[in-house]
């Protein structure tokens, strides 16, 4: 990294190098059996530099000489935007626990037994089901250094368990599944097994449903898959800056139910989305986005914040290119009502677990529309079966304006979203 900075310093005013070194070992299962073991090593380096006041960018993985990386970045700087911020010189920062040395010591055989234990339990519950999934462990080191003298690094471990079941009955395909991940080893198969079996039990038979509007319960999976994408887009400082966010002028206004709290929190110990600093070396912090239904703030990286006359909220993130604003780990605060009580309250309605195609609608506007891949019908306070060949459509802002209840059943979905069930008064259902 120092070598790259030294070369860059010769022709650029300032520069910053970001390097990620990772190794990941997923163990894959297919058709209820161990299928493949993988080891993935990777190193990638990204360089930002300022030349004649303009930003240049290049990145490389593998055997790319430092001088080549610098000259690629210099070439792009001719067309780059006017640099409007200085690269941070992060040296000391508050630690967030995201590394557990135990992860690196989990043997392949323990991972295989864990996956097989989930599969065996699911197959014992439901004959004929075929499971596919993976158990994965990994370590990644993030380093950032700048010509201003900043240098910081962070090592993060990850362990994840994901398993899907596919059940084919009478030309009818049912999918169930769960995914859990953490910076610490997950050695107990029972939460994943329990969730999959719960879904299988509820979906044992199909229930009829008619077109119309009716109350809806989004389970934690349903919230994460249907409602969050529009909010993530709307609170993004860049969407706000461009005037494309429907809440661009709603700051400090209550536009959601007063029981709704949404926070981006990268400081929770051992969560995969946690980190002490963001991908441009700004300290990461807990940011409330919605508080008592009020729009509190938007999230920014350095460049967008400078353009908006705001400051970075520690949300600079890289996914294959230059940093842009992104959330770390979203938390919707849990409420007091159990999911069972929500169901009891429901005379006729629908429970959404997995919505397929939800992100294909006009997300910018808060609209979503999808096919109910996994969902249940409720009649007179009881789940009567799975709904199929059914679409639901809604708008996040209308749905969350006044909700009926927020659940007490918060859980992490894939380690990046923590949410309870949310019970809403009305959604449009289209059925055949």
């Amino acid at each position: 990294m120092e070598e790259i900075l030294d070369i860059a310093r010769r022709s650029a005013e300032s520069a910053e190098v970001f390097r990620v070194t990772s190794i990941r070992t997923p163990v894959h299962f297919e058709a209820n059996r161990l299928k493949q073991i993988q080891t993935k090593e990777s190193v990638s380096v990204a360089l930002r530099l300022v030349k004649n006041g303009k930003m240049g960018f290049a990145q490389a993985s593998g055997n790319i000489p430092p001088a080549d990386l610098v000259s690629m970045a210099l070439e792009t700087s001719q067309f780059g935007y006017q640099a409007n911020f200085a690269f941070p010189s992060l040296r000391s920062f508050e630690q967030v626990d995201v590394f557990d040395p135990q992860v690196e010591h989990i043997g392949i055989d323990s991972m295989i037994s864990l996956g097989q234990a989930v599969i065996d339990a699911v197959c014992a519950n439901t004959a004929g089901i075929l499971c596919e999934g993976s158990i994965s462990r990994g370590t990644a080191t993030f380093e950032i250094a700048s010509t201003g003298g900043g240098h910081a690094s962070c090592k993060r471990t990850n362990f994840s368990v994901s398993m899907d079941g596919m059940l084919v009955r009478d030309g009818d395909i049912l999918y169930v599944g769960d995914i859990r991940s953490s910076c610490r080893p997950i050695m107990d198969p029972s939460p994943v097994t329990g969730e999959i079996i719960r879904q299988l039990d509820l979906a044992q038979r199909n229930a009829p449903i008619k077109s119309g509007t009716m109350p809806v319960i989004f389970t934690p999976f349903g919230v994460a898959g249907s409602l969050l994408a529009p909010l993530i887009s709307a609170f993004n400082g860049k969407t706000v800056l461009d005037g494309a966010s429907p809440i661009k002028d709603k700051k400090d206004m209550v536009i959601f139910d007063s029981r709704l709290f949404l926070t981006d929190d990268p400081t929770i110990p051992y969560q995969p989305g946690s980190t002490p600093f963001d991908d441009e070396g700004m300290p990461a912090r807990r940011n409330a986005l919605i508080d008592h239904g009020k729009v509190v703030q938007f999230y920014y990286d350095l460049h967008t914040a400078a353009l908006a006359g705001s400051s970075s909220t520690g949300n600079g993130s890289r996914s294959g290119g230059m940093p842009s604003p992104s959330v770390h780990a979203l938390v919707i605060e849990g409420g007091k009502v159990s999911q069972a009580d929500m169901i009891k309250d429901l005379k006729e309605g629908v429970i959404i677990e997995q919505l397929m195609g939800a992100e294909q609608g006009n997300i910018l506007n808060g609209d979503f529309s999808g096919n109910v891949l996994l969902g249940y019908k409720v009649d007179n306070g009881e789940i009567t079966g799975r709904v199929k060949d059914t679409m639901v459509s809604g708008n996040v802002y209308q749905l969350l304006k006044e909700v009926l209840a927020i659940g007490s059943d918060s859980r992490w979905i894939a380690g990046f979203v923590n949410t309870p069930s949310i019970y809403c008064p009305s959604i449009a259902v289209s059925a055949k």
Binding site: M72, G243, N371
Partner: protein
Amino acid sequence: MQDRLFSVIHGLRADYIEVRLDESQSSRLVYRGERLEEVGKTASTGGCVRALVNGGWGFASFNSVDRLVESAAMAVEQATHVGKVQSEFSPARAVIDTVEAEYKKNPLEVPLSAKKSMLDEYNRIMLDTPGIQTTSIGYGDIRKKVTFASSDGSYIEQSRIDLNLRLSAIASRDGDVQQVGLSIGSKGDFSAVEGLQGRARGIAQRAVALLSAPEVKGGTYTVVLDPVLAGVFVHEAFGHLSEADHIYENPQMRDIMVLGRSFGGQHLNIVDGAAVPGLRGSYRYDDEGTPASKTYLIKEGVLNSRLHSRETAAKMGEKPTGNARAINYTYPPIVRMTNTYIEPGSTTFSEMISGIREGVYARDWYGGTTSLEMFTFSAGEAYMIRDGKIAEMIRPVVLSGNVFTTLHNIDAIGNDLDMNQGGGCGKAGQSPLPVSNGSPHIRIQNCLVGGK
């Protein structure tokens, strides 16, 4: 390199071993509204080894070729750890070949300044359209060379150039935000993204018009799809179900997908093939060294064949079709589509809509996904059809179907096949893979449309 790779492969004991080495250079330009937000270049090298031992697979990927020998040994060790049964893997004859990148106007030879001034112009046209709030533009091109060597004795070097452009125009009024996009891709011809001034203006005007367009009422409609959206439909509705890795180890799916089963009317023919030349999903060999082919998935309404890797083919007693593809060296190849399309029929567009009292004409695509049985696909543009005529524009719609019924409900196939090269396909974390898909206009009866 050939000798070095063969010496690594021959030094190890496995039923099958392959090595892939990737080298790529790419460039990217990203605009948000007025601002050119990113001009970046990327260079990458890396490789992987995959080994099969007693039916078990091992896979190791790395960035530095120095790690080749160690990674190869690790892949074999992992495969040995997994393997418990007899390996089943279709044999292949040894191929030694070099495939140079095909290109008409090489995007890598177009200077960044020329790319920028072209995109500046499209952006200006969209931003100057009254009612437009902002825009977003993403352009990328990549040159990639893949070197493949296997224990079959094959050694293949293939280079390709791929490029893509996405323009989006976003209109906003009173808290309502509407967007319209255009995606174009090409295998090695920069001129595919040139001369789009008229289309840039068109999407901007359409985005503004959407602000005053009504929403469709959800329910079932007679739906007419344009060639672009029908291409996405065939990809989602049937293409994925044709991938044999969803079928080969699942006895119930094998019953459902038995060759000879009827899935549609006699007029329905669905093809996939990388051997169809000049498209984004075209290549000479797949990532297991199997030559590309052209496969009739459905012939005259009946399930005729499916897409295979060498493992799925062997386990199903069928022939490999050259559809094992990996997006890059960090993944093993899996069964993927290439160029997928519905063959043209004879119905003209005006015949197709003439009998429809109330229906939806859906054009262009925004997205699509499938669970194999049920699928959704979304239009970028939509109109009501009333009394046999195209009527008012409506907000874009999300459509949904079920593979066991929807293909039977196609009752008219147009004569105007067109291929869409702007999409990418995602599967098992490998996205976006360059593919193309297409169709003539088609009409579907009783199609589920989402709405309030």
